[in-house]
């Protein structure tokens, strides 16, 4: 009612707020599923920007990128096009943790996403600041911008990243601002609070950038890329990348002295910053103060773009004053004369406590309102993109009146990510780690397509072209499995691979047909055969634990209906909505209450 004076600038199926990694995947998924989309962003030129280091992948994250690709998302394709250099981390530590990481050209990456959005033809982009989520009696109805313009939509995906009520901090200098001089998004947090959502505050930080020609390149080490062709997407042709994109150097005692001497000026330590930062991506002042015994810390020099003049200093994330940052660089080999183009800074922002979301990423209270990305308390491009994809898919399914897509913890890292976010307390920005996935032997980056492409196809995101590529690979893998299943000198051929250090190459002479298989297929069937014993045990462990721990707690369960539960347990169920009994136990619900709950679920199972 009160909005009648304002101007309606568009009406669509779904409005996506933001143009970051989460927003792009959400908009693309919605559009590809046939929905009309209006994308509202603070800066239409900043699409899928990399505010932090220009790299995609790494342990836990590479698996997510592959999963996004397998489901029909865009991230892997963008990373492949923008790739400057790519390699496999943890090569020697096993297939479960082997992880691609690519250093990317920021501009090319952003350009790829822009083109992908354009190509859809169904995504309109509007520049402006969303301040209010509009709701009707039952569900979301659209958004209103700071200038009073309105977008009407039957579903809304908020992917506003680090911008909500954000402040940037460099030493004593605190500004109300978004990253890289962009505006802070004001007002939207208040609108969400009005809708009954609880807001928290996190912080993160980034490193200084220095001028390319001010680095003494002969005094830093070159980091070698991989010597084999690699790619993220199952659709891309693996390539060798020889661009010298990454160099390394390290801090020394003198650097640490400077930091210690100035720590009282660090906002992190003097109380200026109140938000909680990620333990896993600490600032240099954090590292120096927490690990006084370490004599040096690695610093990577990463080119942000082929034609960019700026170098990103990975490992030097800091919010110390600019003069201290300059002084620090003086002590680092190769950076003695480096000129800072943009100082490192910390950013503090509002996020929505994700326990208020369903596993579909829809908010509990407002039908049709979905959240994705850093606004949900996560950190990282890959984590954001994954949520964007799922929120996009589920917003579309919501519009179609279909059941949401919810991936299990034993199905995908994306399942682990969302389950952790919505059903456990998040105390710091959530970053994916392989350690978070209890079934990581099953969740390899190499088998993401086998796990998820059939699901993506059913949902409607996997194109005929992708499906054909997948079917070919699946056929080959099945053929490879059969070949390894035959008898060879009195044993199953595949059993020859059941020892570390064995290679499928040794079987090629006896089974020449193996030559017909693609290298990635050979690698996959080799891994399957070598780790068969471990994989089988992990699978049976999943089943064993699933019988009780996997028992689903209906999202709408009213704990008051369960006789005999303690008050504490009822509160926990209301607050975190654990999806399963196992998750409830992880929240510290007592064994007795778990039994009571389990018995209740058991006897109501038939009725639901």
């Amino acid at each position: 009612m009160e909005y009648t004076g304002s101007r309606i600038i568009g009406s669509c199926d779904a409005c996506v707020v933001g143009s970051g990694h989460a927003a792009c995947e959400a908009a693309l998924a919605l559009s590809r599923l046939g929905k009309s989309v209006i994308m509202v962003t603070l800066n239409a030129n900043n699409v899928a920007g990399m505010a932090c280091n220009p790299a995609i992948g790494g342990p836990g994250k590479a698996q997510i990128v592959r999963e996004i690709d397998a489901l029909g998302g865009e991230m892997a394709l963008a990373a492949d096009e923008a790739c400057l250099e790519i390699r496999v981390l943890n090569q020697s530590k096993g297939p479960a943790v082997q992880s691609l990481r690519a250093q990317c050209d920021k501009r090319v990456y952003s350009g790829h996403m822009k083109a992908a959005l354009m190509k859809e033809g169904r995504i309109a982009v509007v520049q402006g600041m969303v301040t209010t989520v509009l709701t009707g009696d039952r569900a979301v109805e659209g958004v209103m911008l700071s200038d009073g313009r309105r977008v009407l939509a039957r579903a809304v995906v908020l992917a506003t990243g680090v911008y909500l009520e954000s402040r940037t901090i460099v030493g004593e200098e605190v500004r109300v601002s978004g990253p890289m001089g962009e505006p802070s998004a004001r007002g939207l947090s208040a609108s969400l609070v009005k809708l009954g959502l609880e807001i928290g505050r996190f912080k993160t930080g980034t490193s200084p950038r220095v001028r390319r020609d001010s680095v003494a390149w002969n005094r830093v080490r070159k980091e070698e890329g991989a010597l084999v062709p690699l790619a993220f997407s199952f659709m891309s042709v693996p390539r060798l990348w020889d661009f010298d994109a990454c160099y390394s150097t390290e801090t020394c005692e003198a650097t640490h002295e400077i930091i210690r001497a100035n720590v009282s000026r660090a906002p992190l330590f003097n109380g200026t910053i109140v938000g909680t930062g990620p333990r896993y991506c600490p600032s240099i002042e954090d590292k120096v103060m927490r690990f006084p015994e370490r004599k040096r810390h690695l610093v990577f020099l990463e080119k942000e773009s082929k034609d960019s003049d700026e170098i990103y200093l990975l490992g030097l994330s800091t919010s110390l004053p600019v003069d201290v940052q300059e002084e620090m660089l003086r002590t680092i080999r190769g950076l003695e004369r480096a000129v800072i183009t943009r100082p490192g800074y910390a950013i503090e922002y509002d996020y929505v406590l994700p326990n208020q979301l369903k596993p579909s990423l829809e908010t509990n209270g407002v039908p049709g309102l979905f959240l994705a990305g850093q606004i949900c308390g996560s950190s990282g491009y890959e984590e954001a993109a994954a949520q964007g994809l799922i929120a996009g898919i589920n917003a579309s399914r919501y519009l179609d009146g279909k059941e949401p897509l919810i991936l299990g913890r034993d199905q995908a890292y994306i399942g682990v990510l969302i389950d952790d976010l919505v059903s456990s307390p998040i105390n710091e920005p959530y970053r994916m780690l392989t350690a978070r996935a209890e079934y990581r032997l099953l969740l390899r980056q190499s088998n993401a397509d086998l796990r998820l492409t059939p699901i993506g196809r059913e949902i409607g995101l996997v194109s005929d072209e992708r499906w054909a590529v997948f079917e070919r690979r699946r056929r080959q893998i099945e053929r490879g499995r059969k070949l390894l299943d035959q008898e060879l000198r009195g044993r199953r051929a595949g059993d020859y691979l059941r020892r570390p250090g064995s290679s499928i190459g040794e079987l090629m002479r006896d089974i020449p047909e193996l030559h017909e298989l693609d290298p990635d297929v050979l690698e996959e069937v080799e891994t399957e055969a070598r780790y068969a014993g471990f994989i089988q045990r992990q699978e049976s462990e999943v089943r064993r634990l699933e019988r009780w721990s996997g028992k689903r707690i209906p999202p709408g369960l009213d704990p008051d209906l369960v006789p005999g539960l303690s008050r504490e347990t009822k509160d926990k169920i209301r607050r975190y909505r654990p999806a399963t009994l196992g998750r409830a136990a992880d929240l510290g619900v007592s064994p007795v209450d778990i039994l009571v709950l389990g018995a209740y679920l058991q006897r109501t199972a038939g009725r639901a």
Partner: protein, 464 residues
Amino acid sequence: MEQADWMQGETIAAIATPRGTGGIAVVKISGKDAVAVAAGCLSARGAKRLSRARGYTVFFDRVVSPESGETIDEVIVLVMRCPRSYTGEDVVELQCHGGELVAEKVLDAVLSRGARMAEPGEFTRRAFLNGKITLDEAEAVLDVVSARTDRALRQAFLRLEGKLGKSVLECRERIAAVLARVQGALDFPDDISLKDEEVVPVLEKVTGEIDSMLRDGVLGLALTSGVELTLVGRPNVGKSSLFNALIGEDRAIVTEIPGTTRDLLRERVEWAGIPVVLVDTAGLRETREIVEAIGVERARKAAEESWAALYVVDGSQPLTGEDWYWLERWRDRRVVVVLNKSDIAAEHVKREVSALVSAKTGFPVVEVSARMGWGVERLKETVVGMFGGAERESVVPGSARQVACLRRAREALVRALQSWREGWTWDVVASEMEEACRRLDELTGSRISEDVLDEIFSRFCVGK
């Protein structure tokens, strides 16, 4: 489907009245085919009546043998319909008049009609799962039926309290700490490098500690299920007299005629708070008489299946070849040699026999007189000492489930070490370490699994 086995409503049956009480015995049947199963055991008229009966109907009929068609017993039939019954399922109770033996036959008939023997506590478990009783009520039932001693009950629920909880938690924390190192190296390969020396010695050490907890585990088992001690020896050495002396009343018949005790006699006692089941047996000797031969065979089996044997000899005489045969045969078992009749044995004979047995077998030797009651306390102490000592109560895992969890945790650690030695990759080693942590969490109850449920209900008696 999603439903676990225990909720399928498979039909189960058991004798619900305590053994050996005489009088009326009740065979209880519960599950989705309870009515059909019971009907199959009744007369044709009874069967018809039963299938039409509504809840809480009682009538009189007879149970007939499925093979011969003969009447086994006259019974009172009580029907309760789902969900208004103790378990929440269809329940039929058959009250028999003919005592225990007849009740066994009735149960056999019921089982041959497709019911399955109920597991301990299964009726109560179903009642709980079907919301008929709360866990507190279930536990109250438990208190009545199987809390053999206070101590056993405390031990059964021992989790994070006591020394066991602490040592398990310590092991878990130490595995978790090195696991964090390994995972750190896997997730932050640029920042953290991993040295074998940081991981392997810790895993080896924790494995050793779990080993020693497992070695002590027998006491824990003893606390929940009771240890069996079997009295064996040649006829007439005074086994039955000793049995009576140990339980403090005259249950076994004592005679001078060898071979009097032909069947096994069991009695439950409690030593140092530990439930002990004493078993008296027939004498061990070659015999022509068929009934006695069966008795001898039973004695041998009982001795070999029980936790320990008390090998009784007549201390006033030298040991016979038969004695040496059995002691040699049971060389690797737990045996206490009891020199009985020390009231009539000459000092020098006692000394010689005792020294010889010690030297040849290494078994502990205790002199007693069953008749005078001498040495009986020392004998008890010797046995309790074999449990691991009464004061070590809380260092050891409490129940079969806890021992199993501990064993699984150990297996996972051994696999972790083995795969590391064989040169497998760290992702695999880390997974094994995670499993070890998970198993210890299940032990302490901080992680729930079906085994926990099984444990709680397995402490109920069959038929409850």
